[in-house]
């Protein structure tokens, strides 16, 4: 039978029909699976395919001072970003615009890393781009596929260096922070607070980013913005931070602080703990950090010898020196060892012999026999050596702990340093070995005049003087935005005893070591101090408050390498004058220096240098006077 016989052909045709029909049915089943059963999944994929989320960055909250003056604000900035379909095309686009946008290979690598993390979102190329670059890019849109130009709020600090350490600064979140999830709610490209209040109140200030969608094609080119209201999420600005700062006073502080010198000033309301001004010198311009800092500027700032990024008011630790004598006096009064009129056994003849060592007073001529009141007024070291010995070291230490010298002040700023203060004599035993053999009571003498194993922050000393200033002998923790509600511990003295101490401090300024800083019409109480500094020339202290009858402000200041506390007193009394009498009144001019300062005696080499705190590197200050 031939193959083309009709019966044969018909048989094969029938089989073919069956096979063909089956093939088409199978194809239809395949389409049914995808189009009917899988439609939802694929529709979703299609949507994800063409829509790219673009973050609408939330403006950070404002930071204002106590009168509503804006200290940190936002101004519109331009961010240039690119949408890309893959790394290679992004790289080639970047290389094309490298010259114009000033991108080197390092920056390109950083951008590509950013892209790999979030490939479906616009990759930021340049934050805070200058306007002429933005318009140049806009014009050459054809050459730069996927170009997205966004307005992005940009932080601005109108007072620049003046409040830098309080406000801190902002910067883009780092890859490490992002990976560790250290900052909840943050995403790639988020601007976060880096220091100061910006860091402390990050959660309050950040707000919530919004999101819009743009439709793109497969090559990542923007086709149109999706204006469907349901997909748009508006950004929400962060909350405004109301601070206790008085920017007028802060500016005055920055102004009156001796230019070119290092140090810190803190001004506070003693009754409430509100910080009115907090200044650290040298300062920096936080605006430099906005939009990313170039490595050279960063290197200069972070490696500068005078460490401008370091907040000396809360992170710097200094021997408290003579201002600490009030703590010794307070402790002795509390324990009933002395009253304001008690004389010590040995009158001051420029020093005293203890053990086989001679401990000198700052005044080589000697003060003679003094009462406690006079000893405070003239800051007599010999008197306090003996008072410290009466107290004993362990009482001195435990009372110091009670007064808060071993704790942080609790101010709401990041990185506050814990003071160095031994909690008991165990500290010395642990560190040096047996008492009497490896170390002696000579330690007590050093501690009694605020030297030795005792380093305090300016903010902590201000807190202590706030307690002295308040009638009840208690003061809240210092705060800038909100107090920490910490328990206020009292110094424990009677109101009369406290008033007597204040009177003695008043005499310091009226006719004692700080008489040179006396101003007319304000009764200021305070204490000078000159901290021996193993790294160089002594640091000058002054902590004071006013008015005497009802203190409204307490101010502490330190000037590194200033030689004499009495010179610092001048700065503080000016600040107090300005605060109490207002900016309209001419600041009282300093008369002249009548007395030598209460420079602490040369340190007695009792102990090896153990204050291993973060030391400010010394600098060779050629004998220039602080004030001329």
């Amino acid at each position: 039978m031939t193959w083309s016989h009709p019966h044969e052909v018909t048989r094969r045709a029938d089989a073919s029909r069956l096979v063909v029909t089956l093939m088409f049915v199978l194809l239809a089943v395949g389409f049914f699976r995808i189009q009917v059963l899988g439609a939802d999944r694929y529709k979703l994929q299609s949507t994800n395919n063409r829509l790219r989320p673009v973050t609408l960055p939330a403006p950070r909250g404002l930071i204002v001072d106590r009168n509503g003056v804006v200290l940190a604000e936002n101004e519109p900035g331009y961010t240039i970003a690119l949408l890309a379909s893959d790394e290679d095309s992004l790289r080639s686009t970047l290389e094309r615009i490298a010259d114009r946008a000033n991108l080197d290979s390092l920056k390109i690598e950083a951008i590509l890393r950013r892209f790999r993390r979030l490939p479906h979102e616009p990759t930021t190329i340049l934050r805070d781009a200058p306007f002429d670059l933005v318009s140049a890019m806009e014009e050459s849109r054809v050459m730069v596929p996927g170009l997205v130009i966004q307005t992005e709020p940009k932080r601005n600090y109108p007072y620049k260096e003046t409040v830098a350490h309080v406000l801190g600064y902002v910067g883009e979140i780092t890859e490490q922070e992002l990976a560790s999830g250290a900052i909840p709610g943050a995403r790639g490209g988020t601007i976060v607070g880096r220091d100061g209040l910006e860091r402390q109140y990050e959660d309050v200030l950040r707000g919530e980013d919004g999101q819009r969608f743009i439709e793109v094609d497969a090559l990542g080119r923007t086709v149109r913005e999706v204006l469907d209201g349901s997909t748009l999420e508006r950004e929400r600005q962060g909350d405004t931070l109301f601070t206790t700062l008085d920017i007028g006073l802060q500016e005055f502080v920055a102004d009156v602080f001796p230019a070119g010198w290092r140090g810190a000033v803190v001004a506070m309301v003693p009754g409430t703990g509100e910080v009115l001004a907090l200044y650290s010198s040298p300062s920096f311009d936080p605006n430099l950090f906005v939009g990313g800092m170039d490595p050279e500027t960063w290197r200069q700032l972070s490696q500068a010898e005078d460490t401008p990024l370091f907040n000396r008011a809360t992170e710097g630790r200094y021997p408290p020196a003579s201002p600490f004598k009030l703590a010794v006096a307070e402790s002795a009064l509390l324990r009933g060892l002395v009253d304001m009129d008690t004389h010590m056994e040995t009158p001051c003849e420029g020093g005293m012999l203890y053990g086989n060592r001679y401990f000198r007073c700052w005044k080589a001529d000697g003060h003679g026999s003094l009462t406690l009141r006079e000893a405070i007024q003239y800051s007599c070291d010999v008197y306090f050596y003996q008072l410290g010995l009466q107290l004993t070291l362990s009482n001195l230490l435990s009372d110091g702990v009670d007064m808060g010298f071993s704790d942080r002040s609790g101010i709401d700023l990041p990185h506050e340093r814990t003071p160095l203060f031994p909690e008991s004599i165990e500290y010395f035993n642990r560190r040096y070995g047996q008492r009497g053999r490896d170390w002696t009571s000579g330690v007590t003498l050093n501690m009694a005049i605020g030297q030795g194993e005792n380093d305090q922050t300016v903010i902590n000393m201000v807190k202590f003087y706030a307690k002295l200033a308040n009638p009840q002998g208690r003061a809240p923790d210092p705060w800038l935005v909100q107090g920490d509600g910490g328990e206020e511990t009292s110094l424990g003295l009677s109101e009369q005893a406290l008033a007597d101490l204040r009177e003695a401090l008043y005499l310091v300024v009226e006719e004692g070591t700080a008489v040179g800083a006396r101003v007319e019409s304000v009764r200021i109480a305070g204490k000078t101090g000159t901290a021996q500094n193993p790294h160089g020339r002594p640091h000058g202290w002054f902590v004071g408050f006013a008015p005497l009858e009802d203190p409204k402000i307490v101010v502490g200041a330190i000037v590194e390498f200033a030689e004499h506390g009495s010179t610092v007193a001048h700065v503080v009394t000016n600040i107090i004058h300005r605060y109490l009498l207002g900016p309209e009144v001419e600041p009282a001019r300093v008369i002249e220096y009548l007395l030598p300062s209460d420079s602490a005696p040369e340190p007695i080499p009792i102990l090896p240098d153990t204050s291993r705190g973060r030391r400010i590197p010394s600098e060779d200050v050629s004998g220039t006077a602080l004030f001329r």
């Binding site: 031939t2 018909t10 389409f31 439609a39 694929y42």
Partner: protein
């Protein structure tokens, strides 16, 4: 007197498909980012016009004259294919291959498409001339050589998709010429070995099955042994053959198996096509509205993936309608092949049916990932002059076969 008439259903099906295809091509050009594709439908219109002229000419051509011309046509097609290997250029989605004949930079056409038709004709003449079906593999060998020559030349371009079509043409022709299905299976066995060799276990099972099958069907001893050894060597050679493939071919095969391997590169086409088809749902997103296509996520939306546009814009119902039209066309061709007045004509139409069916199944299957991406066009839909003309000539020749067969009443009984 014999009453002749045009095969109205064939004409109607062809015209509807051509019009739907043109509309789809128009839609494929409607993208948000302007591209050259937007004007492609106008060019296709020109090709259609030229195709109709050629279809009429083919219809007027006497089958006897054609049969006489076949060896010349086949020789010319082979010559063109051989020439393509030396002077061929790449284009469009197949830029890396040498598929095109061009003169002075003007691309004239893809000889592979014409060669398909020439091979159909050559097979029809060779097998149609036999009284009896090939009794064994040995007798089918000449037909195999007729196919092997263009297959090799096309595979060297390299154009894997078209090469597969030639294999299909051989099996279609042998089947229609009456070769026993068991022999067909044995012929196919080396290919199956090649595919299964990627897993030793599956290949082992297959060899055991094949051995039993050879023993049962008892082909000629030499043939049986030759087959068995071919299969065995295929399994062993598979790996080195795999190495011989171009990297993009390897990737295509791999991504066919798992499109998620590298979604941005190789699997991209399959994934985007499936997303396009799937997001069409039951009724589609509407003519010209396909997002995938508009935003250029869909690759080669006017050629290889033109059917995805239908899937996205007309949904499952549109797919079903076009599949029915395509199926009806193939069934009509089978009907005409069955009724053909002579073996040559019957073989010719069966060959056309095989060619179109292969193109349809591979192309449509590819859009939903059930077939590997081979880049062969969908008849009447995909943009492309050579294939459109090939199809028109094939339909013209079929019309003539249908016309001629109507006098033969006894066949319709």
């Amino acid at each position: 007197m014999e009453r002749h008439y045009f095969d109205k259903s064939l004409i109607a099906l062809t015209l509807i498909l051509v019009l739907v295809g043109l509309a789809t091509l128009y839609s494929a050009g409607q993208t948000d980012v302007p591209s050259a594709v937007s004007k492609v439908w106008q060019k296709q219109l020109v090709w259609i016009g030229l195709g109709i002229v050629l279809a009429v000419a083919s219809f007027r051509l006497s089958p006897r004259l054609l049969e006489w011309l076949v060896p010349g046509i086949y020789a010319a097609a082979i010559a063109l294919l051989a020439m393509t290997l030396f002077v061929g250029v790449g284009a469009g989605t197949a830029a890396g291959t040498k598929s095109w004949i061009s003169i002075f930079g003007v691309r004239l056409g893809q000889p592979a498409e014409l060669a398909k038709l020439a091979t159909i004709l050559m097979l029809a003449r060779m097998l149609g001339g036999r009284r009896h079906p090939p009794a064994g593999i040995w007798e089918a060998l000449p037909a195999g050589i007729v196919v092997a020559i263009p297959f090799m030349l096309v595979a060297l371009q390299p154009d894997l998709g078209s090469a597969i079509v030639f294999i299909a043409l051989l099996f279609g022709a042998l089947y229609w010429a009456g070769l026993k299905p068991s022999l067909l299976l044995l012929l196919l066995s080396p290919g199956i070995s090649l595919l299964l060799a990627f897993s030793t276990i599956s290949w082992g099972i297959w060899i055991v099955f094949l051995t039993g099958f050879i023993l049962l069907t008892r082909p000629h001893l030499v043939e049986g042994l030759a087959l068995w050894f071919t299969n065995a060597s295929m399994g062993i050679l598979a790996f080195s053959l795999w190495e011989q493939l171009q990297p993009y071919q390897q990737k295509r095969l791999l991504s066919f198996l798992n499109p998620d391997v590298d979604p941005r590169a190789t699997g991209w086409h399959i994934i985007q096509s499936k997303i396009a088809v799937g997001s069409g749902g039951l009724i589609g997103v509407g003519f010209g509205e396909g997002h995938q296509k508009r935003l250029a996520f869909l690759p080669a939306q006017h050629t290889d993936f033109v059917y995805s546009v239908i899937g996205e814009e007309f949904g499952f119902l549109g797919v079903l309608a076009t599949l029915v039209l395509l199926a009806l066309l193939i069934l009509a061709l089978i009907r005409i092949a069955r009724k053909a007045s002579d073996p040559f004509s019957s073989m010719l139409v069966a060959g056309v049916a095989t060619m179109l069916l292969t193109h349809i199944v591979v192309n449509v299957g590819m859009t939903i990932g059930v077939m590997p991406i081979t880049g062969i066009p969908l008849p009447f839909f995909s943009y492309g002059g050579s294939f459109m003309l090939t199809c028109c000539i094939a339909i013209g020749l079929t019309m003539r076969v249908s016309w001629d067969s109507q006098g033969l009443r006894y066949l319709n009984a």
